[in-house]
Amino acid sequence: MKLLVLIGNVPDTTTKIKFNADRTAFDASGVQWIINPWDELALTRAMELKETTGGAVETITVANVGRQETEATLRKALAIGADKAIRVDADVRDAFYVANQLAQVCKGYDLIFAGIEASDYNGAAVGGMLAELLGIQSVSAVSSVQIEGGKLHLIREIDGGSQSVSVATPAMAIVQKGIAKEPRIPAMRGIMMARSKPLEVVQPVDTEIRVSFESFELPPAKAACKKFSEEQGKELMHALREEAKVL
C-alpha cells in the first residue's frame, strides 16, 4: 500500500499573530513554522501503520503546496520517517487552488491522509475537495485508521459517539485528534537521513483564484476583570445579565 500525507506549513501555535498595515496579509516576519498539528498526527499514524502491519505499507510520501522556505517543514516530515516529499512550488491561495495543485501529485496512492483543518486559516476544505478532484471516496472526522487484509477500517467521531466504517482503496482519510496519541519527535539519525531522501519540486498548474482575502481582524482585546466581593451577589447577577449578557 502506498500512503500519502498532506503537510501544511503553519505558524507555531504560540506565535503572536500580526498583520500588515492595511490588514490584508499576515505578517510572517520572525515566525517559526511547524507542521500543521493534525497533519503531524496523521504522519505519526502513517508511520505506526508502516511499522506494525508487516510490510502492508510500502512507502509514505508527504506533499505540500508552498515556496522553497516551506521545505524545512517537509524535511522535518522526512526526518520523522516519510520516504519521499513532493512540493508544488506555488503560494498558498484559497482551498480550491491548493486542492487543484495537490491533485496533480496525489494520483496512484492507496490512502491519503489530510488533517481535518489547518491551524492557521481553519479552512477545513482541502481534503474533501481533493478527494472529489481525484474521484476517490473520502471519510471525514476520522480518529482511527487500521489496515487489515488490505482493507481500511476507520472510526469516525459523530455526535455522542463513534461510527466504524470500512472503505475500499483508494481513499482519503480526513483525520482529527485521536488519530495518534502524540506527534512523533524526529530522532537525530532521522534528521541526518532526511538529507538524502528525495524532495521533488513540481510546477503549479493554472488554476482560477475563486476566493481572495479582503481583510483580517484580530479578536477584541480582553476587557479588564471586574471583581465582586462576597456581599455583592446582586451586583454580580446584574452584571452577568446586563453587561456580559450570559444569563
Binding site: R75, A187, I191
Partner: protein
Amino acid sequence: MTSINKFTAPDHYLVDDLLTEEHKIVRAAVREWVNRSVKPFIEDNFEKAIFPKTLIKELGEIGAFGPFIPVEFGGAGMDYISYGIIMQELERGDSGLRSMASVQTSLVMYPIFSFGTEEQKRRFLPKLATGEMVGCFGLTEPNHGSDPGSMITRFKDMGDHYLLNGAKMWITNSSIANVAVVWAKDENDVIRGLLVEKGMQGFTAPETHGKWSLRASITGELVFDNVKVPKENLLPGAKGLRGPLSCLSSARYGIAWGVIGAAMDCYDAAMRYALERKQFGKPIAAFQLQQKKFAEAITEITKAQLLVWRLGVLRNEGRATPAQISMAKRNNVEMALHIAREMRQVLGAMGITSDFPMMRHMMNLESVITYEGTHDVHLLITGHEITGLQAYK
C-alpha cells in the same frame, strides 16, 4: 499537540540566521521532547533527589547520546553545532539531565571512539548510543581534583590481565554505569584509559548523597580493590593526560552551549512573570531596576550565543583550541549562574519556590561552575594561553 509549552527563546541578534534548517529541526525536536518528558516532572525529581532512569531510553531514542559519532557506531554523524544545540535544550530542562548526556557522549563514547580498538567500538558504542548501556568517566580522585596528573590510582601488568587499585570521586552516572572509562597510571607512571565493567570483582560504585545541586542526577564514587581488568579493556590510543583532557574539551564545549539553555529558561520565566505581575499599578517590568536586570541578562545571553556559535564553527573545522573552549565554558557558566540569581530576584519570594525554575538552575549551576575544570582553573588556562606563563602551581 506541538508547543504546549510557552517558552520563547530569546534571540536578540538573530543568531538563528547563523544556523541551518537542520540545526533548527534538531533544536525543535529536543525542545519538544524536553517539554513533553522533562519539564512536567523535573521539579519533583529534583526535590526528591531522584534521577528519572526512564529518560535514559528516551534520550537514546531521540539520539541525544553521541550525535557526532558516526552512524556505523550508532551515532548520527552530526556536526558539533548540533551537539551544542542538543546540550542547550537538555539543560533548559535541567543541568543534571544534560550532565548525564554530556558524560555519556563526551566522556565515554568520545574516548572509546577516539582511542579504542575496533572491537571496543563495536562492542560498546551502539549500546551506549541507544541508552541500553550507561557509561561514566573516572579522572578526579578524593585528593586530586584540579591536579589530575598527581593521581594515585594505578594498575599493574599481571601477564594475562591488569590489576587496578585506587578510587575516583564526583563521578556522574557512577552507580548506574555498565562501563567506566577509568584513567590510571601504569608501572611507568603513564596515564592510560581502562574500560572497567560493572560486575568486575573488587569494583564498587557507591552513590554520593546529600547534594544540594544536580539532585536529579546520580553522582558517586568508583572504588577499585584489586580489580582484574582484561587486557583487551585498555584503550590503546591514549597515553598521558592528553587523553582525558581531550575528552574534557569535548564535554566543556557541550557545557558552554548547555548553560545557555538554563539561562534562557530563567530569563524567559522571569520576563513573563514581570510583564504580568503588577505593583504600584503597573507591571514590574516597567520599573527601571527590573529593566536593568533584563537588559543585562539579554546582553550576556546574546554574547554567550555568539561565543558558542563561533566556537562551534571552529570545532567543526577542527580548529577549536582547548583554551578557546575553556574561555567559553568559564564565561557562559558564570553568565548563567548570574542570570539565574538575578531572574530569581525579579520574582521576589515566588522565585524561591519550585513553581519556577530559577532556584533549581541556580543550585545546579553551582556544580557546573566547579566541575570539568573549576572557574578559577579556566581563568588560569586563559592566562597561560595569552602570557605563555603557567600560574597553576
